[in-house]
């Protein structure tokens, strides 16, 4: 009698475990999602690297820029605080993977190589980049002339302009630097023919050095799109961010903020450019 009851109980327990297992798996996935962690801690931590005009320090040393608007709106919609973690660009993906912050919102363009390490959302921006050239060195150049081994481009390593240059001008030599200022300086010093950057930086630079720099082409070259990057294996967060970007795109909010930071320079007096 005792034995039979024990066996019965054991059987019931086994059945319960087996049946409950799939349900627990889904719940575990939800529990582990970064979205749950953000809600629980009441703060979203966003990793970014300074990159004019995506994000920069204003004259008071505070962070401003397109990413900051996006990050603050995102946090507001989630009902949590926002914490921006300025991070060196070189280590930003390892820092995300090791858990220093929850998501990268730093104008990061989607590349297959990066996508093997992190997940990307739908693009939230399509930054157009333009050529900023050394006027004397590129006199009479057509767009095709830039695609030659004799032409040197300078750009920030791993950033959108570097990818665009590599795609558009595969023949040209590409010098890579850790930040934007250095690539512009190379063009100024005549060590590189041109660099590419998101508007309005090229026009600002050309205005500051009218004798040396110019923006030779009116057109912008559309990049592949910039996305939030998040850790792999988190479908809930990917779904949330994708839908947030979808809503903000359809409502026109993202475009409006994009225009404010990239098309005009109404913010220029906040930064000593």
């Amino acid at each position: 009698m005792f034995t039979r009851r024990t066996i019965g109980l054991a059987f019931a327990a086994l059945a319960a475990t087996t049946l409950a297992a799939p349900a627990q798996t889904t719940q575990a996935l939800t529990q582990e999602s970064v979205i749950e962690k953000i809600k629980e801690e009441g703060v979203i931590r966003i990793g970014l690297s300074l990159f004019t005009p995506w994000s920069m320090r204003d004259i008071n040393g505070e962070l401003i820029g397109f990413e900051l608007d996006v990050g603050r709106a995102l946090a507001e919609d989630m009902g949590v605080d926002v914490e921006f973690v300025p991070t060196a660009w070189d280590g930003i993906i390892p820092a995300l993977v090791s858990g220093n912050f929850d998501v990268i919102i730093s104008g990061m363009s989607i590349t297959p190589a990066r996508n093997l390490t992190v997940n990307f959302t739908e693009p939230y921006a399509f930054s157009g980049v333009t050529i900023l050239a050394n006027t004397a060195m590129t006199e009479g150049f057509t767009l095709e002339d830039y695609n030659s081994p004799d032409v040197t481009f300078a750009a920030r390593r791993g950033a959108t302009p570097a990818n665009v240059i590599a795609t558009l001008f595969p023949e040209a030599t590409l010098l890579l630097f850790d930040e934007d200022g250095a690539s512009t300086q190379e063009v100024l010093n005549g060590n590189a023919h041109a660099t590419m950057a998101s508007d309005p930086t090229p026009s600002t630079e050309a205005r500051r050095y009218p004798d040396t720099l110019s923006v030779p082409f009116d057109q912008t070259f559309l990049a592949t799109g910039e996305s939030f990057a998040l850790r792999k294996g988190d479908p809930d967060a990917l779904n949330f961010f994708n839908n947030w970007i979808g809503i903000k795109t359809r409502s026109g909010w993202l475009q409006a903020r994009n225009d404010y930071w990239f098309k005009g320079d109404a913010w220029a007096d906040q930064v000593s450019q």
Binding site: M56, R57, G61, V85, A88, G190, V271, S272
Partner: protein, 289 residues
């Protein structure tokens, strides 16, 4: 001035050659470097008056300088503790202890600091921070009311975990050098003294505590002071892991304003002033009285 009178003609020749050399370099730079100097913007990034709040505040560069001073102080205290333990372990009688200390020291001395910083940061520090739940702890302080006291000592509490990683990694690799200095100090104490300590019935610990260490530590003050200055300079390495110290803030300033040369020259001047005045101060202490 007696100094001028002591100069002979070869001194004037050397001075003239140097002046010509640097003059040429500056002239060449001015010719080649196409750069629009904007020095007038720099003072605002050190100290700025905020119209909206009616107060002076430390802007990026000064914030960075303060952070560097903080980090260097904490890291050197930690490095001194770790290094003393390491130095004692290096002279221990137990072979295993000696070998372990030697391994640690050789590892840290023969790997470039940058590599140590990356390995530590990406593999160890996050685990440590998560295990101690430092993120939440420091955020709670940042949100609480007495945040000001904590911020005086540690800066922005939201960045506290990264400060901790920076201090620990800096202390780890400086402790290897401090350890060597301490070992040299301990070994410079004549054997006779240690034997005398034993003969009057002191244990191994007492011998260290009362006889060897007080004398050894006094002897190693000059190289230790040098090591402290080296640590301040090395602290710029941890900008790579985004610790918000002087070098990192300068990178941010350059990225935001394109004041490439002005910002870096100012930062170099900051480091120089700190390190040089410290070395002058230490020299004063060391001077025979």
């Amino acid at each position: 001035m007696p100094f001028i009178k002591r100069l002979r003609w070869p001194d004037y020749v050397i001075a003239a050659v140097l002046a010509a050399f640097f003059g040429t370099i500056i002239f060449t730079i001015e010719g080649k470097l196409n750069y629009d100097w904007r020095w007038h913007l720099v003072p605002d990034y050190i100290l700025r008056y905020r119209e909206d709040r009616q107060e002076w505040f430390a802007n990026l560069l000064l914030q960075g300088l303060i952070a560097t001073v903080r980090i260097s102080l904490y890291a050197s205290v930690l490095a001194l503790i770790l290094g003393t333990i390491l130095g004692i372990a290096r002279t221990a009688e137990n072979l295993t202890v000696r070998m372990l200390a030697r391994t640690y020291l050789e590892l840290l001395r023969n790997i470039p600091p940058v590599v140590i910083v990356f390995i530590f940061f990406f593999f160890l520090s996050q685990q440590l921070i998560d295990a101690l739940n430092l993120n939440r702890w420091s955020r709670d302080i940042a949100r609480s009311e007495n945040a000001a006291v904590w911020e005086f000592f540690f800066g922005d509490m939201r960045r506290f975990p990264s400060l901790v990683s920076g201090v620990i990694v800096l202390a780890l690799f400086e402790s290897a050098f401090v350890g060597e200095i301490v070992r040299a100090g301990i070994q410079s104490i004549p054997k006779g003294q240690r034997e005398a300590a034993r003969s009057i019935g002191m244990g191994r610990f007492q011998e260290m505590r009362y006889i060897v260490l007080p004398q050894a530590m006094k002897k190693v003050v000059p190289p230790m002071a040098n090591q402290f200055i080296t640590l301040i300079k090395d602290s710029s390495i941890i900008s790579l892991i985004s610790v918000q110290e002087l070098t990192y803030k300068t990178v941010e300033l350059v990225a935001s304003t394109r004041l490439i040369f002005e910002a870096w020259i100012t930062t170099a001047a900051f480091y120089f002033v700190i390190c040089f005045s410290l070395s002058m101060l230490f020299r004063r202490f060391e001077a025979p009285r």
